[in-house]
């Protein structure tokens, strides 16, 4: 009951906030929402299926390029947005068949290699604009309504994030979700109890890619420009930081982690671009935030912020009862 109220409150806040934000804050809001979508998928993948992915930004890139390429070649923009998660998931399913035979650090390096290969191919591909990228992506239009204002994208992002959370929530609660949780604890035991381990792992991988692909599609229409340089390895690492900081395997943790990291990086970016600061200050500060947050959380809050906070109130309450 309290959770429902909290959710309704947060939803209302997410809907009420965008009109109050200025131009730059609105951009941060949209990027935060998109990062949260990717992080929800990654958190599901790492927390429930126990897989480390260091290449999550490649699915984001595939979504962005799918939407961008279709739109640039004159396809309806809505089709591009719908195709983005489908193509990303299809790519993940195809790549996942060989890759998901690997575990642990092998998979981590394999997904990293996947992203490096993708970036290499994209920056050589003339049909994708090469290293310069795709320019002149039109605005998204939904049923004749063209989204030309940032405000429209803010609401689109909120809707897409809500959809992502809803899908993820239902999967966690389903029979398949319980199978996944069993899989993360012990693959052997899960397989022995009849969980189709290989198929489930692949399905979560594809689903996390679909979330990232959808976010990438929105990103392409929002900025109107994508290039291989928009999707560095550091972006993938950033998603990992968000998922770990918020708490792996919790949906609210993914959103909290994405919000905390994005806002902190933005704040330090503002500090770093103040007059008098050296030109390298913003990048140094953002690298430092990623790394210090990640190391501190892994060492001292291994389950992440949200699970740690969730454990906190009962203890405080019980202390209150005794007094």
């Amino acid at each position: 009951m309290r959770r429902g109220l909290l959710l309704a409150g947060l939803g209302a806040a997410a809907l009420a906030l965008p009109p109050l934000l200025s131009g730059r804050e609105l951009t941060v809001f949209v990027l935060l929402g998109l990062a949260a979508m990717v992080t929800v998928g990654l958190s599901l993948l790492m927390g429930y299926a126990g897989q480390v992915s260091l290449g999550q930004a490649s699915f984001y890139a595939i979504g962005a390029y799918t939407a961008g390429l279709l739109a640039v070649h004159g396809a309806p923009t809505m089709l591009g947005l719908l195709a983005a998660p489908v193509v990303a998931a299809g790519f993940a399913a195809a790549v996942g068949v060989p890759l998901l035979r690997l575990r642990g650090h092998y998979l981590a390096f394999a997904t990293l290699a996947m992203q490096l290969i993708l970036l290499g191919v994209l920056s050589q591909a003339e049909w994708a604009g090469g290293a310069i990228g795709l320019q002149g992506i039109p605005y998204l239009s939904i049923g004749g309504l063209e989204l030309t204002e940032d405000l429209g994208y803010a609401y689109l992002t909120v809707a897409a994030l809500a959809l992502t959370l809803l899908v993820a929530h239902h999967i966690i609660g389903s029979r398949a979700g319980r199978g996944l949780r069993a899989l993360a604890t012990s693959e052997t035991a899960a397989a022995a109890s009849g969980v189709p381990v290989g198929r489930y792992r692949l399905a979560v991988f594809a689903l996390s890619a679909a979330f990232a692909g959808l976010a990438g599609g929105i990103y392409a229409f929002f900025l109107g420009y994508v290039s291989p340089g928009s999707f560095p390895i550091l972006l993938s690492i950033g998603y990992l930081v968000m998922a770990v900081v918020g708490g792996l395997g919790t949906l609210s943790g993914a959103v909290v982690g994405a919000a905390a990291v994005t806002l902190l990086v933005d704040l330090l970016n503002t500090v770093g671009t103040q007059p008098g600061m050296p030109s390298y200050a913003p990048s140094v500060l953002s690298y430092a935030v990623y790394s210090v947050l990640l190391v501190l959380v892994v060492l001292f809050l291994p389950r992440g912020i949200v699970p740690a906070l969730r454990d906190l109130p009962p203890r405080l309450l019980s202390r209150g009862d005794r007094a």
Binding site: G104, F109, S291
Partner: protein, 286 residues
Amino acid sequence: MSDLLQYVLTGLGVGCAYALVGSGLVAIYRVTRVVNFAQGGLAVLGAMSASTLLAAGLPHGVAELLAVGLAAGAGLLVGLVAIGKPGTSPRSSLVITLGLAVFGYAVAVLLWGDQPRSFPGLPGAVSLAGARVQAHYLLVVAVTVPVFAGLALFFSRTYLGKGLSACASNPYAARIVGINVTRMGLLAFTIGGALGGLAGVLVTPVQQVTFDSDVALVVNGFAAAVLGGLERPGLALAGGLLLGVGQTVVAGYGGAAYQIEVALVLMLAVMIWRSARRPLVEEPAV
């Protein structure tokens, strides 16, 4: 024909650097089961410090040795953070070293800026059977071979090296006979740091280094190490040389744009092939 020979010789030089990074990964992984993602960053640190020390007027040799020492120290620090806290699982340690690699970016940009750096190595070129090769590549090979020989002797003949190997083969039994496994892990991180720093110092005169060169270095090093299943430094040497030669030959015959992809596809193929033959041991759930 002399073209091919030139590519192969150059490739051996490049491959030695990958092999050094890879053997650092192996040295750490055998003892601690942690893949040190910051290994590439340590190479960059070694390279950058060498360039600063040389610019400060230190003679060649001294500056490079000091830089390798610095990288070893940094390796020890990485180890302290990654495995110093009791009960850190290897998966957490991997994520921590990833964080430290990003921290390395901050340090490198702060100290050395974001422009590529280099310093002069062994000047001149040598003709071998009609192929002209920069002399520095031969120096790289000439340094790497004794280092690997020394590593092999260290692991098999010295008391400390045998202790490391004991931790690698059975940490529990090693603890029972009185070996401090954590201290051995830190020693492994130090050795790994020195090997990474050496790779950076050796390769910089022929390939410029920027603060984010570490991803390419650590991925290539991992690719080299994977050939030996992350357990055997000798196979990491073979893997590194194979990768280096493969890349330069592909680049030489017109595929320069696809150099790194060749290494990555090869690494993926080897990993998947190995996992199909012999299921990779499942990490113990913690």
